[in-house]
Symmetry: C2
Subunit: 231 residues, 2 copies
Amino acid sequence: MKNKNIKIIGFDADDTLWVNEPYYRNTEKKLCQILEKFTPLENSKKLLYEIEIKNLPIYGYGTKAFTLSLIETALKASNNQINGIDIEKIVTLGKNQILQENEILPGVKETLEQLSKKHVLIVATKGDLLDQERKLLNSGLLDYFHHIEVMSDKKVSNYNRLLKHLDIKPDQFLMIGNSLKSDILPVVELGCQAIYIPFHTTWEYEKVSDKDLPVGKYVEIKNISELLKLI
Amino acid sequence: MKNKNIKIIGFDADDTLWVNEPYYRNTEKKLCQILEKFTPLENSKKLLYEIEIKNLPIYGYGTKAFTLSLIETALKASNNQINGIDIEKIVTLGKNQILQENEILPGVKETLEQLSKKHVLIVATKGDLLDQERKLLNSGLLDYFHHIEVMSDKKVSNYNRLLKHLDIKPDQFLMIGNSLKSDILPVVELGCQAIYIPFHTTWEYEKVSDKDLPVGKYVEIKNISELLKLI
């Protein structure tokens, strides 16, 4: 890394600082079970994904958007035959996911503690503003960050706006995250630095084909503690 | 106003820059009509309000939160007897509200154009991040603002964090908005300046009793164009 250039380090939150995707997959599984009387599990799963992607421009990311897509999936999978009791169960699935206890990933606290002594750290995450603020507040990690930037998406244009708002040049920004699509590719395209830390579960939508990877433009590590050797 | 002190002017968005609350009331009316086969209009309206307030800490503000509360109201008002077709109608009510064309209030564009020549303007709004970014982008007002701050709530602690993030002292911040509860009271408490522009429709939750008003601590004007004489 070109350490001396780095002015601000941005951390993705979900599945970089704390567990997230497994909760979505768990809720998905429960939805598919509720809908099994109408259609096989695999059909509901596929339908939910299609509806989520269709709704992204309208609803954006986060658990409220997800819950609305769960309900729409239930209506479609059942041809509107689903009853109120099952709809209520689905609303509750969404609420339980929002209120799910936040599980910090191993090594995160120690690494942030060290890094925050020498660098300005921010959280740069998409998802729901209230959810992310609540998770950060409950994480015990708040003091390590200068502030949180919740972004409506993580495309090149969003990062461009972020750099302007932070008033820094691209090579002064290092982004760290678990999504090649959202945390690595767009920032590399802007000339920022990037470190990729894969997580064991990735949402289908965030997957990137190997041929689209910008070889040599980012660093991959296995776990967050390795940052201390790199930065 | 202590003009020479002002470094940043924050504008509330909904019902200050553009129409918002009437769309909520219109959707509420349509929900109550759908539910009229189960319960009188006034009961549904009261139930929706109770459910919205109960859900605020979980869902926060914005149309996705509102849509989820509409669905929950329908389930409760019908004792879970509502059918899939009606639930689908309610999901569509929410989507239509999100996709509703944004109507800028009279005088806003001209006023911002003048003010932005001499002052740093920001949007400081609660609600849904994606919704507010989209509305600002489609408003033609984007260029007048340095950036947009979407806040998960507008309490004293949120404004305190905002001032820290903006790196200014309280008396260097002027907030302008249509909600005494969200735009005026908390900023006045922090020692900021505030200008109140009432809007004809106010959500029950945002109403403030006359006895709680900090007399002499803020200025009230009838329409946004009057700002040009004040600042």
